[in-house]
Symmetry: C2
Subunit: 339 residues, 2 copies
């Protein structure tokens, strides 16, 4: 089974924008590997790729093309001497049950080090995005106030915890009270407020950030961002990781112009893509793994069952229904060599 | 004569927002200096101070207070051993004919090095703003395309010429065709387009920047900025120097949200105030003076006559009626010691 782009979404994607199809199990050629997927990662960036916009991660995809995604799987057949049957690997495998990819594009995982699904979350792109985005792009300093939008998502929940490890005051913006409670009670955020539940956003933001905002890690954009711009401290840094609230609008919505607010505050806004840090990934992963093993970084996953549920799970994630990292279980972990 | 804030402007300032008054000629105390103003500098940042907003340069001024401004004058009486009668000085002297200030807050000029009015333009805050804003904040590299909004103003005309000296492609946005012609014909800009004269801004911008925009030096904000965000090259830098188009709006106008455009491009927006570079001012002034003497940097001033004309000249400048640096001649240059 594989899932392709049936139609470019208008507004929020619909199930009919996805097409389930069947394909022959492909055969690897020299230096290629056949992988059976176990976990598929659902990430907000896919929405802009589907819409034909440029994405920080991939060129826009065309109608009829396989939907791209990072995934974890096990090797079923290998024509690359670096891999053998049963190896657990991570790579850009796409929305399908079987993928053939060059061995050079895969990363071998050690299943004894951490649950293999973490290769798509805390020890994968989301973890590295939070790590480099906050510490390097955001140049986070101890004691600062960090505001995170989309704080209950796969990247946001990690960014907040990393900021806590760095002794910052951490404030999260999320869609519902269930999520803001979770951020404070389970992940140790200092404060959190809802963006969709009524009330005046400015008031909620001011109450949560009495000392202003030093670093704003923005996954969402829109009104939270407009209001955050009014609370910036001197030399504040805004890390633009995603603008998920804008990706699903049928028509772009205008907002207040706030660039003048940056001048006196000497504030900086930096857009970034984690791939620009690729030569530092090992270092980042090692630190994230230490924190994970020390229990200082909590992981949270929601796992939809079966590739066929991926479209609905993806739409739900865009609507903010998941808590933490959203995965799809595509297949079972390798158990015997008799595949 | 002195001019104070009579009313906070709504929209563009009106002459009635200013109040002309008379004051006794003040007497300097110990370490103070009495200065007779010669040239008063009119700068767009004063508009936000008048409106009660925070300004990068000064706290908001209150009703009835003297309007602040940089100015050049000569010393009439000195109680500071570092200054003597006839010295030409520059400082934050305000909209008045005579100012008493601490000697420590004055900078002595050498009238033989350059015309004294340049201390308010190319060798003053506007020059230093263009210099550090473009070269340090903007991290300008040879061969890049630089877009400058408000290009015919006191800062913009210098930023463009500095970028030409650094072998960049320089594109200016200005209000009228007289100004865009001046930018190209007199100052050597590679291209310039009008922002107020009809036509589709996006088309004009694209035609002027066929290779995209690497550095955008923004003095104006609003629609030019919205469109510039669509043409950013990878790792583009946006220097937010001013947002003059927004300062005179009675009601803030909304604009398109464009933060998502920064992500894939890894672009950076930096707000800045030139005062953060104060320890490098001498170095910057020395370089600007060399370029000025070599004829590589052209100066252009418009000089209104008499302090009483300052309000109208200031309003005209906000409406984009001046070309280059706008000054007011308040008094004559010191000629004899018999004052």
């Amino acid at each position: 089974m594989r899932i392709t782009l049936a139609a470019r979404p208008v507004g929020f994607p619909k199930v009919s924008d996805f097409e389930l199809g069947y394909a022959q199990r492909p055969t690897p050629k020299a230096r290629q590997v056949l992988v059976r997927l176990i976990y598929l990662s659902l990430d907000p960036w896919l929405r802009s790729s589907m819409g034909g916009q440029e994405s920080p991660h991939l060129p826009p995809i065309q109608l009829g093309e396989l939907l791209p995604a990072h995934a974890v799987g096990h090797v079923v057949k290998s024509e690359d001497p670096d891999f053998r049957e049963g190896d657990v690997v991570e790579g850009l495998l796409g929305w399908q049950e079987y993928a053939v990819v060059a061995g050079a594009e895969l990363r071998k995982l050690d299943p004894n080090l951490a649950p293999i699904s973490t290769a798509l979350g805390v020890l994968g792109m989301p973890g590295l995005t939070a790590y480099f985005g906050l510490l390097d792009v955001g140049d986070l300093q101890p004691g600062e106030t960090v505001l995170i939008s989309g704080a209950a998502g796969g990247v946001g929940m990690l960014a907040g915890q990393i900021a806590k490890i760095r002794n910052c005051r951490v404030v999260g913006a999320a869609t519902t009270e269930a999520r803001t409670s979770w951020l404070c009670d389970e992940l140790g955020f200092d404060a959190a407020f809802t963006t969709n539940n009524g009330g005046v956003l400015r008031d909620k933001l001011e109450a949560s950030c009495p000392d202003g905002v030093d670093v704003y890690f923005d996954n969402v954009g829109g009104e939270v961002t407009d209001e955050a711009m009014c609370l910036l401290n001197e030399k504040a840094r805004i890390v633009v990781c995603g603008q998920d609230s804008q990706d699903n609008l049928e028509k772009p919505e205008p907002g207040p112009r706030w660039l003048h607010r940056l001048i006196a505050k000497q504030a900086r806004i930096q857009g970034f893509v984690v791939s620009s840090y690729s030569r530092l990934f090992s270092e980042g992963r090692a630190q994230l793994a230490r924190w994970l093993h020390e229990g200082r970084l909590k992981n949270h996953e929601e796992v939809a069952q079966g590739l066929a549920t991926a479209p609905q799970a993806f739409i739900g994630m865009l609507q903010g229904k998941n808590l933490g990292k959203q995965l799809v279980q595509v297949g079972e972990r390798y158990r015997s060599p008799s595949l």
